[in-house]
């Protein structure tokens, strides 16, 4: 593997944080990423969200997600910086490229297996429209499964 990895950074700022402060945070993150020769693939501001538990006395937080491509050394520095900043209540950096690649491989493998199986049975490689329709009906049926296990779930 090359040394460029993909990371997802999620940080949570206090709910009353202004746009300017959020923009400033973003530029700080961008500066660190740039210094290590990485790039920010996308930035997503989720806005204010309810927290599942209280953090630093807040019940809500402003979430921001950044998808970053870059070397591993970048995360250590980013982590250190974010820890110090008061404008960030909580942050998490997760490496995602391997998991996503594995998911991709799984998808491709399943697709080719399906195709091979269908060809062996003398069917067209792709499911036809009518087959797809039937599958959808069956899926509706399985909706009952949820109820099936939930009733024993919370004990």
């Amino acid at each position: 593997m090359s040394d460029v990895r993909q990371y997802e950074l999620v940080y949570i700022a206090p709910p009353e944080t202004t746009e300017e402060v959020l923009a400033d945070l973003h530029t700080q993150v961008a500066a660190v990423v740039e210094r290590f020769g990485g790039t920010i693939e996308k930035t997503e501001a989720w806005g204010r969200r309810r927290l599942a538990y209280e953090i630093a006395g807040h019940r809500e937080g402003a979430y921001v997600l950044e998808v970053i491509n870059g070397p591993g050394a970048l995360t250590a520095e980013l982590d250190r910086r974010l820890r110090v900043l008061d404008a960030v209540m909580r942050h998490m950096i997760v490496r995602v490229d391997e998991d996503l690649a594995a998911a991709d491989r799984a998808r491709v493998r399943r697709k080719s297996a399906t195709t091979a199986r269908r060809v062996r049975r003398g069917l067209p490689p792709e499911p036809t429209e009518s087959e797809r329709q039937r599958r959808a009906d069956e899926d509706d049926d399985d909706g009952g499964m949820d109820g099936g296990f939930r009733d024993r779930g919370d004990r």
Partner: protein, 100 residues
Amino acid sequence: MSEMDKDSRGGGRSGGAKRDGGDKAGGRRGFFRRRRVCKFCLEKIDYINYKDVRLIAPFIPERGKIQPRRISGVCALHQRALQTAIKRARQIALVPYVTD
């Protein structure tokens, strides 16, 4: 029918696994317990995203614990993936650690 219901619950603690195994073959009337299948295999979900609360939430009962797969029927592979997803979601407060 309710009698049978009670019975199966009582047995759930000790010889639960064995008994459940027998059920799906025998087909007990009234108490319909479909063979549990892994939701993620069924829906062909390869990557369990920690940001997708709607996907994860059904596997977190009221107390906030991770539901064991003997109850949810999730396959080992996906339970492992689900576990990391839930733990990540907890860190960024999308999902609670505990609720009482």
